[in-house]
């Protein structure tokens, strides 16, 4: 198991809602997305698959190139592929934008 953290200071648009999507089942993950306590976005990941820090970084760099909300994201992961990770993130954004 590995814990990974990222910060995205440029994402500073205020967010008011929170979202919980996904299940920590094989090949899937859960996302908890809520307003950040500070004025930037923060990501913390707990994954059962070690050694993929650079892949996580690439997914979140791409995600925050389009999304600018000051969110706190917590992920519990059971081996989701980068594609599934992005889908879950987009699903969470959909919920907080409703």
């Amino acid at each position: 198991m590995e814990k990974i953290e990222f910060a995205y200071p440029a994402a500073n648009r205020r967010i008011t809602k929170k979202a919980h999507v996904g299940v920590v089942g094989s090949g899937d993950m859960e996302v908890l997305m809520e307003p950040s306590p500070g004025e930037s976005a923060h990501v913390s990941i707990t994954t059962s698959v070690d050694g993929f820090r650079s892949s996580w970084k690439a997914v979140f760099d791409r995600f925050f190139s389009k999304f600018d909300g000051a969110v706190r994201i917590q992920i519990n992961d059971a081996g989701a592929t980068p594609g599934s990770v992005m889908l879950r993130l987009e699903q969470a954004v959909e919920v907080i934008s409703q």
């Binding site: 198991m1 929170k18 919980h20 920590v24 859960e30 908890l32 994954t47 917590q74 519990n76």
Partner: protein
Amino acid sequence: MSQTSIIPEFVSRRSFIELDGRKRAQSLFDEGTWKELVGPFDRIESPWLPLQGIAPQSDDGCIVIKGKIGGMAAVAIALEGAFQGGSIGEVSGAKMTAALDLATKDSEAGKRTAAILLLETGGVRLQEANLGLAAVAEVISSVLALRLHAPVITLIAGTVGCFGGMSLAAGVSSYVVMTREARLGLNGPEVIEQESGIDEFDSSDRALIWTIHGGEQRVGMGLADALVEDDAEKIKATIRGYVQADLRPEYRSQQVKLYRDRIAALDTSEQIDPMSLRREWNNETTGGLR
């Protein structure tokens, strides 16, 4: 002929099995009456899984929702089968027990509160061994306390099924509702094969497994009360019926002599087939609302 009449009913139905644990529990309540207790943002996770290199889940795979069903107070406790096989650990067990005990407290104070257990579980979480076993004992004693005041309804929809320690909780509940896809048994097929050999039970033989553990057989034998289709509206209506139902005068778990005599009377000199077992076992004394 109109366009709609040629579309069969099963096309337009909303599948219950395809919902996750949280959506299943929510779907049972009267609209706008429910709220989740100790939800994911409370972050009550298993402290034991990360120590063993396994990612935890923010609700520990146990979803507790309180609200009204058919206008009556009820609490639904769902196990998420996709997370660690729906297994019962320290946290998920404590959530289940606490919810049942609060329902008992409300019922004793005059506000009858039924409980619905949505069990998709392989039983005790092996990573939390003794704590999981203790949790099963607590859940069972809490079910026994509540069923004196309000119905405790176990709903097994599938596709994980209900096995191990939690099958005992199903066994002591007031009513058991199953789909054809669901399975209920103390030992799961793979456990039986592992312990007694493939000649005893072939866990890859799906037809065999469902003629023994499957919902249709369990209801046919009188060990479960209602067989429902995988349709969220129909399941909601069935559960509402049991929430409003009278308390049972006698529970299956109290009919020790009846079941001992039945087992003693079985002729094991030849293979017993599922259909004849249904004919011999299912009668008025064990059947529920049908």
